[in-house]
């Protein structure tokens, strides 16, 4: 792979990860949001694959395939099942409306670039300079978590945070050691399974997946 093809593949995939994060703020239909999440998982796998090819790192290529399977296929499928059983599968009233969310996302992107200056200075490679994209995707995930009131949107927000961190891990260090990577992926997968079970229980108890219906615990 020549260096310019590598640079543009990496740049585009990393940018796609961030773009998907922003699009989840933009779309209201939960089904569409989950599809966007699948695309993001695929883009993340693309990043890992490109770095793996570039560094001739077979372990990373294998991890890329695993990421594609887990974050591009399995996790979205798991969430889709929840969405399908939800009678009102739209994020109709987020705490912050959509245009304001999008502007906030823009601000978060700037923030992430400012916050990671020291990191990009330490790692001024093609991959290292893309680290702010990962941090920005993570921050957008945070924002989605804080402002969206549907169970599914919160799961998606959590996964956005996770994908953002994973992107940073790939870009900064070409992936953490394999044992940690596997453990982390397993944990995320299990967390999604747990959340899915909780969502099922929630529907049984509350009748909807609206977290506003669940607000009895407070001081």
């Amino acid at each position: 792979m020549t260096s310019s093809v590598y640079a543009s593949t990496l740049g585009l995939s990393a940018a796609l990860v961030l773009l998907c994060a922003v699009v989840t703020l933009w779309r209201r239909s939960l089904g569409a949001i989950v599809k966007v999440l699948a695309v993001q998982g695929a883009a993340l796998a693309c990043v890992a694959l490109a770095i793996g090819f570039h560094e001739h790192d077979v372990g990373l290529e294998v991890i890329a395939v695993l990421v594609l399977g887990a974050k591009g296929v399995v996790v979205p499928t798991l969430i889709t099942r929840v969405v399908r059983h939800d009678p009102t599968s739209r994020e109709s009233q987020p705490l912050v409306n959509v245009p304001a969310s999008l502007v906030a996302a823009g601000a978060l992107v700037f923030l992430s670039f400012a916050a990671t200056r020291s990191v990009t200075a330490l790692e001024p490679t093609t991959a290292g300079r893309l680290i702010p994209f990962g941090v920005a995707a993570m921050l957008v995930g945070f924002f989605a978590l804080a402002t969206r009131r549907k169970a599914v949107s919160q799961i998606v927000g959590l996964l956005l945070v996770d994908n953002g961190v994973a992107l940073v891990a790939f870009l900064a260090t070409a992936g953490v050691p394999v044992i940690v990577e596997l453990g982390a992926s397993l944990d995320v997968l299990l967390a999604v399974v747990v959340l899915r079970v909780l969502a099922t229980q929630m529907r049984a108890h509350v009748g909807s997946l609206d977290l506003d219906q669940l607000a009895e615990l407070h001081d």
Binding site: S8, V98, V109, F110, R129
Partner: protein, 320 residues
Amino acid sequence: MTADTHVAWGASTSVLQVAAIALGGLVLVGLMRRVRARLEGRVGPPILQPLLDVRKLFRKERLRPDQASWIFPFAPVVLIATVAVAAGIAPLITVRPALGTGADLFVLVYLLLSGSTLLALAGMDAGTAFGGMGSSRAVTIGALAEPALLVTILALSMSAHSSNLPEIVRSTLAAPGTVVSPARLFALASLLVVIVAESGRLPVDNPSTHLELTMIHEAMILEYAGPDLALVTVGEAMRMALLLCVFVNLLAPWGIATSMTPLAALVGLVSLGAKVALVGVVMAGAEVFMAKLRLFRLPELLAGAFVLALLGVVSGTVLS
């Protein structure tokens, strides 16, 4: 090469560009209607129908509202004039049109906007309810699109270190890799949304509607008739065609004339036509599957475009 040949070449290609945009714009409108009709299972009007419509309108009697001021007849002329100037100086067929140094993205955008602004004033000038409603909606969309557009220009000008359009096109030709940089793609996606909004296509405005409550652009020009309406129609078609031409030349400038020979100009003309026709067909095809957005959802769309452009700027700064 002497300065004279430069001037002559620039002048002749600019005239060619204006003519191509004027004719091509109407044909493009016809083409898009036809494609849409076909996809919806109708036969649809012939591709040249807009040309025939315009010819018919020019032959009609000149009718203007009694209360209208000088703005009303003035607006269509300004619209045509600004679009023609913009089409003359933009790098459409050649990278060296006349006054190419003036073809700054800002100049281009505000030339086009001044035409739209006057048209919005004219919509209110007639004093009817629909005209005012259409104008207010059009101005709202314009105001929302403008920040996105400004940031888009900023993003586009970053890779070439210049907001001069011929300069950007030349730098893209010199370094084709910049086209697939995240900065450029984000900016172009944002630009596409803005173009759709500015030229009143779905999902922002439905160009074929005559349902009063949802009309935006059609409501604004409701009072125009005869030759005035013909001017407005031609001006609008030219504007859309020009915006799309600029878009395709930023996305894929290959084919544009870099040398000053008639053959190169011909190649430039044909390739431009092909590219714009392709984009037009894709847009028309996409419109079949789209519903018009409700008016209060438009801020979301344009805020999305704004964020896209912002992403473009940010990634351009960091990755340059």
